[in-house]
Symmetry: C2
């Protein structure tokens, strides 16, 4: 059903021109066993950005294994703690999460008694979000884990000054690119 599935194999013997066959012959066994050259790829912003993000998320998940918190869940807890009394739409949209996709996230956090939906008396359509006591306690422990295991790792890799510069530049890119 994917677009790529609909792609027709143009021919069974691609590049089968006289020049094609000659070039192919020259390439047989090219640099076998040797490491590939990344070339310009290693200076492509998107490439290095994506790979760094994957590594950081991976490390985050390892650090949070005992609390079973994903980066997205951690960000929700942080934002609700900082902005108690806001509704789902407000929290979701500032995190770039679409409302439909935020429902399942909240179902999960609420089922673990980390946060609660409270019907607003001002506007009975909306749910006000609050951290439960357990949620506050878990978030406090999560922050310590992040500080001691996650950010500390980045500090010993880049140094305090570079770490702050990196985050500042990333924030600028995220906001103004």
């Amino acid at each position: 059903m994917t677009v790529s599935k609909a792609a027709e194999k143009s021919s069974d013997k691609p590049a089968d021109t006289a020049k094609g066959r000659k070039d192919a012959a020259e390439l047989q066994g090219q640099g076998a066993g040797e490491a590939l050259q990344l070339g310009e790829l290693s200076e492509q912003l998107g490439y290095v950005l994506k790979r760094a993000q994957l590594k950081v998320f991976e490390n985050f998940l390892r650090c949070m294994a005992s609390l079973q918190l994903t980066p997205a869940q951690f960000s929700v807890l942080l934002l609700v703690e900082k902005n108690p009394g806001r509704n789902q739409t407000e929290i979701a949209s500032t995190l770039g999460i679409l409302r439909p996709n935020f429902v399942a996230m909240l179902d999960n956090l609420e089922s673990r008694d980390l946060c609660a939906r409270i019907r607003s008396t001002n506007d009975r359509r909306s749910h006000i979000l609050v951290l439960t006591d357990k949620g506050k306690a878990v978030l406090a422990r999560a922050k310590k884990l992040v500080a001691t295991k996650h950010e500390a790792r980045l500090n010993e890799l880049l140094g305090q000054a570079n770490r702050e510069a990196l985050i500042a530049m990333l924030a600028k890119v995220a906001n103004e690119f």
Copy 2:
């Protein structure tokens, strides 16, 4: 079928203790209409990394709209150009793409006549990858678009020196974190 779907709604009136009701009352209409405070979130590496990556990919796609190349496809073309004669497993693994998922990507690129699979004569199991002439031409145009529209944007945002420093730090994080 998701995990979160299996989450049971613990109760219809969450946090309905005496303290819970009082706290909820205090929160009604909290900072309505005002912007939310990001708080510690804006200094979380993972958060700012992810958002920056999304913005950069988004901009990349806009710059490449005329060539219809995604960041992943661009990286494949770059790597094949730099390392002609390598097989699918080698190209995919250095890009962090799993072999099964690489098949559809190549089907797509091959159907557009950007690259070609050639049966190796040394090892008839493997397909050697090469850029077609059209693939080389498209990649050349893609590089120019990236340089003039994409990287130039980053330069005017951070400056040349900072841009290089950012990429160097991201590469370090990607490789050593």
